[in-house]
């Protein structure tokens, strides 16, 4: 689908990030990554573990600080010390590999609480919206359950509803199906496909190549903290230009 607004919602320029451990060793996680995400676009980021793909995703809502470079989200430069990071984050939804639902709150409360705390919605409005969204992700019948009483797939649905409740302009998915049983993976991927079809802008780190082929507008292949190759799914799968991309795809397909 062609982006309606030509200006990308997220721009990353030469983003560098080094992890330093206590024993003085350092590990280059991102060695100068530049990428853009257009409005309405679905970007899939893939690559071997340790390639920096999750780190990259987490810099986009400033969950990870960066050493140098520039990240602009919807016109706001987030590496600027004066940036209102809380406001920015409320506009960028994030879904985690391990769901990270608030363990002491029910499914419904998980979706209600952020609306009240961050968006200052009234309790009744937040509850109504939460039921709508839990219904949308197909889990409203479990609204009163605690996360520990839900399966992984159900928890991830609640987590997606929670992120959507903030009315995000873009959603980041950090390996959303990697911790799920194989039979529940499809359900979550279908839900994400549905979101994409509704026009949600998405950046997805995933190993699900069939899914990527189906919904991605563009794909990034990362290795050793760098973007090795970028292109449409057709190009990436059928005529990968880089040797490293070919090698990786051969291993996982």
């Amino acid at each position: 689908m062609p982006p309606s607004d030509p200006k990308p919602i997220i721009i990353a320029e030469s983003v560098r990030k080094t992890y330093r451990s206590n024993d003085g060793r350092s590990h280059l996680a991102l060695g100068g990554v530049s990428a853009e995400i257009g409005r309405g676009e679905v970007l899939v980021v893939f690559g071997p573990s340790g390639s920096g793909k999750s780190t990259f995703l987490r810099t986009l809502n400033a969950l990870e600080s960066i050493d140098s470079g520039r990240i602009v989200v919807d016109g706001v430069e987030i590496s600027d010390p004066g940036a209102d990071l809380n406001k920015l984050r409320s506009e960028v939804g994030m879904v985690f590999q391990l769901f990270n639902l608030f363990q002491h709150r029910t499914a419904l409360d998980n979706v209600v609480l952020p609306q009240i705390v961050v968006h200052r919605r009234s309790k009744s409005e937040a509850v109504r919206r939460a039921h709508d969204l839990l219904g949308k992700v197909g889990i409203d019948d479990r609204a009163g359950h605690y996360p520990s009483q839900l399966s992984g797939g159900q928890q991830q649905r609640v987590a997606i509803a929670r992120a959507l409740a903030m009315d995000p302009k873009v959603m980041l998915f950090d390996e959303p199906t990697s911790a799920l049983d194989p039979e529940t993976v499809t359900g979550i991927l279908d839900l994400m496909t549905e979101l994409a079809a509704e026009g949600m802008t998405m950046a997805v780190v995933t190993h699900e190549m069939g899914f990527a082929r189906e919904i991605a507008n563009r794909m990034l292949f990362m290795d050793s903290g760098l973007i090795v190759e970028e292109g449409s799914p057709q190009q990436i799968f059928q005529m990968p230009r880089q040797e490293r991309t070919k090698e990786f795809l051969k291993q996982i397909l």
Binding site: F96, N100, L101, F102, L108, V117, V118, Q149, M166
Partner: protein, 227 residues
């Protein structure tokens, strides 16, 4: 048998006075020490270098020295500094020293409990746009307090038992009242100490039971329908 009953009835008023004193001093120490320890633990969990080190020093000094020595410092040394506010009675010295001692243990438990809440909880709340204080108050602390309940019960029981040490500065708590009773019935030392030990047990056991109950209450998974 009649003899023991007579002794028991004779010392009963002393034991009662002693128990009341023990009860109050331990209650104040637990309440004040918990509040102080909670605040210190929360501040320390935030890893702000200056405060983390400062309170770390506070905790390690208190945990690394015997309570008896601390009590002497609060009772003998501090009032001698000439500072008006520190010219306190033996009772005040007991309250303050025991509360401060309690706070050092509570602070460590609270910090450990906060650290034990999975990092993902912080990340999820941060990603949703929560401010740091909201995350602490609404997401992390409710879960941390649950984790803090079991180790806290052990500390509380220890505080109750440590009130016995207060007898050395003349606080007329249970052990001190027992010693007074023994002066009156020197041949019944074993019996009187036995009764005193029993009173401590009767006080401490429900505390352990209560925390077990509270743990179940806050830790259990309940299904609550909000509709």
């Amino acid at each position: 048998m009649q003899h023991y009953l007579d002794v028991f009835i004779a010392i009963l008023p002393f034991l009662w006075t002693g128990f009341v004193q023990t009860f109050w001093v331990s209650l104040v120490a637990i309440a004040a020490g918990s509040v102080l320890g909670f605040l210190i633990g929360v501040v320390r969990s935030q890893r702000i270098p200056f405060f983390h080190r400062l309170f770390g020093l506070y905790i390690h000094i208190l945990r690394g020295t015997p309570f008896l020595v601390q009590l002497y410092v609060f009772y003998f040394v501090l009032p001698n500094t000439g500072i008006e506010a520190l010219q306190w009675s033996s009772e005040m010295a007991a309250f303050v020293s025991l509360s401060v001692y309690t706070s050092s243990y509570v602070a460590e438990i609270i910090m450990a409990a906060i650290d034990a809440v999975p990092k993902g909880q912080w990340e999820a709340a941060t990603a949703l746009g929560f401010k740091r204080l909201s995350i602490l108050a609404l997401v992390v602390l409710p879960q941390a307090l649950k984790l803090a309940v079991p180790p806290m019960s052990g500390v509380y029981v220890n505080i109750i038992k440590n009130t016995a040490i207060l007898s050395v500065i003349g606080i007329s708590e249970l052990t001190r009242q027992g010693e007074i009773s023994i002066m009156r019935f020197p041949r019944d030392v074993l019996f009187i100490y036995g009764v005193i030990a029993l009173v401590y047990f009767v006080y401490c056991y429900p505390v352990l039971r209560f925390t077990r109950w509270a743990e179940r209450k806050v830790g259990g998974t309940r299904v609550v329908n909000l509709d």
